[in-house]
Amino acid sequence: MSASGNTRSRLQTKTSQARVPRRFRGWALATPPMLFTLIFFIAPLALLVLYSFGQMDILTFQISFGWTTENWRTVFTGIYASALLRSVVLSVVSTALCVLIGFPAALGMTRMPARMQNILLLAVIVPYWISFVVRNYAWLTLLGPDGVVTRCLAAVHVVDDGKDLRYTSTAIVIGMVSSYLPLMILPIYVALERIDPAVIDAAADLGLHGVHAFRRVVVPLSAPGLIAGVFLVGVPATGEYTIPAILGGGKTLMVGNVIRDKFLGVGDFPLGSALAATLMALLIVVLVASRKRIRQLEDVL
């Protein structure tokens, strides 16, 4: 290109930059994601809150917006408290078990040769290629009186021979742990993988060995992965409804099942919206309370 051509090109660029002021350029870039968030997140949330003040006609199933607070009063009358409490308890237990199983598994993976690490990572991910629902239905067979799991547990005298483990809280926890475990292992693995071996060596030089080095160096450095795993498992587990529906036998309801029944079962969108908004508010409170910890996730995410 000739010198005059370059000059013309620079001039054109300058002119176009001058045409769009700098402060608008930021807005232009931010507008599409903001619109996306507005349409697909803020607007549905607003609709949810709007619906929660409505009322459903039990015969016609038509919803009217008379701005009643009846649904909110129903939510807090205690009818649904046990389902909400059960959700929190089962979610906490499942998350804790995922940490107990996931951390050693991730730590073991990082100690393997690179080739083996890839194979193990694949082994963690492969179950996700099978439908979530199918995997949980498979547990019905495994936990039945003649199931492999029941027989193994009976062989070591953990349960009685012929015991049916289906349709129990234990079955729900097993289903949740098996379903969500990869979401715990992967972020912990990433965090552990990033720990510079020189830091462990330095700790050893300074007199920290074995369990002490693990507790004072490895665990704190892997905390971002651990926290990410806790959120990735704990948040969806609290609102879970598929697993209790399959493995709970319609008896052990979590708040997710109650919300599902409201929307898809009895068509009571207003009460379902109030319940869903309550669950969401609860999770937001937990997330806000943990905001300090969440900042540490930047290292992993």
Partner: protein
């Protein structure tokens, strides 16, 4: 060759300009918006080509999965060229769930399989179409008492809720609902209940000596308390296959349906049926046209087809339900005709469900939620 122009200003040949792409996008958005407006203005679907009274049509049937004779749809399509039936599965979870499914998809289905209680509730909500029995002359072959219970369309079968038990596990089988509730703790973790509100509340009300259709709040609360008191001992509330766990011996007792018994008992001699003396909650299932259907005459043809003794016999043989059409007996399997649960016995104390108004529906719905959430 000169470039022709599309309605959106896009040249049919030649490079795309930014303006033409924008124009096309806006055009599509406009068409989509118009289409959306069109579909939201009417609750019933747009008339299909040939949806005339006697013309070709596709009947959209909301049905309990596979609750139909083997090859019945194809046989009807062959006998009535141009008219076909497409089935969609009903929601699980009871009367409210099915009613909500119909209300939320108003105009999507032409007819549905409903119990008389469900049909009465939908009728009160303006969700059932008017049915003229004169359109189905064969209807008179169904005994009048069943037509009186189900006047909303074609009554297809009779259902009863009873007790199933394994004779090898239960030495003193319950003969009353009260006995059943009393012995549930003894068989903790081995008792199955259906996942249907009216049936579970119905048996609890009968066990307490109340009317199966009670709308009395204190009686319903007592029934709720009774169910909640035994809930920790129940194995599960199951929507389907209540008999399967009796068959594999993982359960000893089940509150279930006559057709569930008939489907598992022939292969399991240990499974028995008990008809409690307080009475059996009962219902008449039937096909009822839904509001918005434009194919009433074609639906009447399908109903008439169903009433052919051979077709109806095939329906009963496939569903293993209690039959309502005496003319079909020669085509019904002997095992079904002689089944202790399915056999129609006028001396049985059947308690048919009745619709008691919106307040009763609301109260029962709340109580069922409390039972499930407890």
């Amino acid at each position: 060759m000169s470039a022709s122009r599309s309605p959106f200003g896009l040249a049919a040949s030649g490079p795309l300009s930014r303006r033409s792409v924008l124009g096309l996008g806006l055009g599509f958005a406009g068409v989509a918006a118009l289409a959306a407006c069109g579909s939201s203005t009417g609750s019933s679907p747009a008339a299909e080509p040939g949806s005339a009274e006697n013309g070709p049509a596709t009947l959209r049937f909301l049905n309990y999965p596979d609750w139909i004779g083997k090859d019945e749809y194809s046989a009807f399509a062959a006998a009535t060229p141009g008219v076909t039936v497409v089935e969609t599965a009903e929601a699980e979870g009871g009367v409210s769930a099915i009613s909500a499914q119909i209300a939320q998809n108003k105009g999507t289905f032409d007819f549905a399989l409903l119990g008389e209680l469900n049909a009465a509730q939908l009728k009160a909500g303006g969700l059932l179409a008017e049915f003229d029995p004169g359109l189905v002359p064969g209807l008179t072959k169904i005994p009048q008492n069943f037509r009186d219970i189900f006047p909303y369309g074609l009554p297809t079968d009779l259902g009863k809720v009873g007790i199933g038990y394994r004779a090898d596990l239960v030495k003193s089988p319950p003969t009353t609902w009260k006995q059943l509730f009393d012995m549930i703790p003894q068989y903790s973790g081995q008792v199955i209940f259906p996942n249907y509100d009216v049936d579970v509340l119905g048996v609890a009300l009968l066990a307490l000596g109340h009317d199966v259709n009670s709308d009395n709040e204190s009686e319903l609360n007592a029934a709720k308390d009774l169910i909640i008191s035994v809930k920790p001992h129940l194995k599960a509330f199951l929507s389907t296959d209540q008999g399967a766990s009796l068959a594999d011996s993982s359960s000893a007792l089940a509150v279930f349906y006559d057709y569930s018994y008939a489907s598992v008992a022939p292969d399991n001699a240990a499974i028995k049926w008990s008809a409690p003396s307080e009475g059996l909650p009962a219902y008449v299932d039937g096909w009822a046209p839904l509001v918005g259907t434009q194919h009433m005459s074609q639906l009447a043809k399908f109903m008439e087809f169903q009433l052919q003794p051979k077709v109806y016999g095939g329906f009963i043989n496939a569903t293993r339900a209690s039959y309502l059409l005496p003319d079909a007996e020669p085509f019904i399997d002997a095992a079904i005709k002689n089944d202790p649960a399915l056999k129609y016995d006028p001396s049985l104390n059947l308690k048919f469900y009745e619709f008691k108004g919106a307040d009763a529906v609301k109260l029962r719905s709340q109580i069922w939620e409390q039972i499930k959430a407890a």
